[in-house]
């Protein structure tokens, strides 16, 4: 069974440029998460989707970040415009549901903003 797929794996952009990350969850997983992982730290939740609905985006900086999961399967996370402080790893995870279900993570997209 394929795991969570993310692309691109690496991205280098200049500040003020836009960037987008794509995630395809494990087949059948209704819940999708986007996390931010700064160097030397654990992941922090940005947004959670139940199917196509964003049920928790309280940690998403909405002035520059946006996300969508239009058909309840794959998802895109966008930053516009990017700032130097956005350099980090962006992780996507999925699970069958919430509760005690295990979250399975993709390999992440490493973003460097110059």
């Amino acid at each position: 069974e394929a795991g969570v797929v993310q692309s691109p794996r690496y991205k280098i952009i200049e500040k003020k440029q836009p960037v987008a990350f794509w995630c395809n969850p494990i087949s059948g997983h209704n819940t999708l998460y986007w996390y931010l992982q700064n160097l030397g730290q654990g992941p922090e939740l940005l947004i959670r989707y139940e199917n196509e609905e964003a049920v928790d985006d309280s940690q998403l900086p909405k002035d520059r970040f946006s996300a969508e999961r239009l058909k309840g399967v794959d998802s895109t996370l966008k930053i516009q415009p990017a700032e130097l402080g956005d350099s980090a790893v962006y992780l996507c995870a999925s699970s069958l549901g919430a509760g005690g279900e295990t979250q399975y993570f993709g390999p992440g997209t490493r973003l460097l903003v110059l």
Binding site: G42, P43, E44, D56, G100, T102, Y104
Partner: protein, 114 residues
């Protein structure tokens, strides 16, 4: 608010020796507890979880963890470490009120020397 503490930034052991990675947590209710491992330039890989039941949980690659409610701990253990166990380990907790939000510790880097 829920939180996780991993008191050791680094753990160094010799191959064949026991490995312990410590984790303590704080939640308002009963916890769901998870351990993940992260290899360089990879996403987080699920090792094991405690939801309910037996306090000793067995997971992948010979790892196990013991839930101790009185000490609010969930230490990860392996009886005989391998060089290939060298990686970054994260403990995470989810309480049953905010049942989707995983809070991660800062991580512990494990180095197993040959």
């Amino acid at each position: 608010a829920q939180s996780v503490a991993q008191p050791e930034d680094q753990v160094n052991v010799a191959e064949g020796n026991p490995l312990t990675v410590k984790c303590t947590y704080s939640v308002s209710g009963n916890p769901y507890l998870f351990w993940y491992v992260q290899y360089p330039n990879r996403g987080l890989q699920f090792l094991l979880k405690y939801i309910t039941g037996d306090n000793l949980v067995k997971g992948s690659y010979g790892f196990e963890a013991e839930f101790n409610k009185s000490q609010t701990s969930f230490h990860l253990k392996k009886p005989s470490a391998l060089v290939s166990d060298s990686a970054l380990y994260f403990c995470a907790v989810r309480d049953m009120v905010h049942d989707y939000k995983l809070s991660f510790g800062a991580g512990t880097t494990v180095t197993v020397r040959a």
